[in-house]
Amino acid sequence: MTAALVLIAVFTLATAAVALSLRNLIHSALLLIASWFGIAAFYLWAGAEFVAFAQVLVYVGAVSMVVLFAVLLTRRSRADTVIGPDSVARAISAVITGVAVFGVLGVAILKTSFGRLSPADVPPLPGGTGVSSVISAPTATVRDIGIQLMSTHAAALLIIGILLTVALLGAVVLAAQEGPESKHESP
């Protein structure tokens, strides 16, 4: 169990790290898409099948297309997809910031004792292994998700619908305004 988690984590972190450090923009985008696959694999490992397939459908199927089209539409020639080197000082300070944030979060996680979170009928294990490993996996069938969406979270569903419509219309309006001098791009 944990071995699979470590494998998925290593794959996702590696692809994400390489994606954000490459010079070639298209390769960066494609590696990030691979890291989204890794995250979907984590969802499958945790037993949330519906979320995993939704992640693939939305991110890999749609957001990836938006990103790739944006990359292709914001360049003047093929050479523009290879970006020049960024400022090293800013990169170093960014790495220090990122590592500091991860350090703070990591220390907080390791120091917290996730106590008995399961129902009271789970007996404590001798030998001191954490209780979190004996909690049985919850199952969220599609029926449960549907019922929850329509009853408890119905308002949120409608708001999300409005938000997506507004975002779609806004994106179309923003990206579709043709200036009079915008026609000299060559692929």
């Binding site: 944990t2 988690l5 984590a9 972190l13 994400a16 994606a19 954000l20 923009l25 960066s28 990030l32 989204w36 984590f42 945790a46 949330a48 979320v51 939305v58 991110y59 957001v63 938006v66 990103v67 089209f69 944006a70 990359v71 970006i83 960024d86 400022s87 800013r90 960014a94 790495v95 910031t97 990122g98 590592v99 944030v101 991860f102 979060l105 990591g106 390791l110 996730f114 979170l117 399961s118 292994t129 954490g130 490993s133 909690i135 919850p138 969220a140 998700i145 929850q148 969406l149 979270h153 949120a156 999300i160 938000l163 997506l164 975002a167 779609l168 994106a171 990206a175 305004q177 915008s182």
Partner: protein
């Protein structure tokens, strides 16, 4: 390294968040900054699913609900962000963040 699955998952998502933060801060290409932000959103979703799997069972699908809405919002935000990038590109013909400083004092 602890062997509990829950701290491992949380460390994984924190590491991913840190990577997204580094990406968003260090690169000067706007699209890569946006991809870093997407990565941070995904890391937060990982957190939700980790606690849904190993946390107290309040209702069977709350964690999943959060993640569904988060994915929807992240997709909408990516679409709007990239449309903004295209619109900015039309004016300044590059997408380097440092070039977008016309309002600088």
């Amino acid at each position: 390294m602890s062997l509990d699955p829950l701290p491992l998952c949380l460390l994984f998502s924190s590491a991913l968040f840190g990577l997204g933060l580094i990406g968003a801060l260090a690169r000067s290409n706007t699209i890569l900054v946006l991809l870093g932000i997407e990565l941070m959103l995904n890391a937060a979703n990982l957190n939700f699913i980790a606690f849904w799997r190993y946390g107290p069972a309040t209702s069977p699908a709350t964690g999943v609900m959060f993640v569904m809405f988060s994915i929807a919002v992240a997709a909408a935000e990516a679409a709007v962000g990239l449309a903004l990038i295209i619109a900015v590109y039309r004016h300044q013909k590059t997408i380097r963040l440092q070039e977008a400083n016309r309002l600088k004092g």
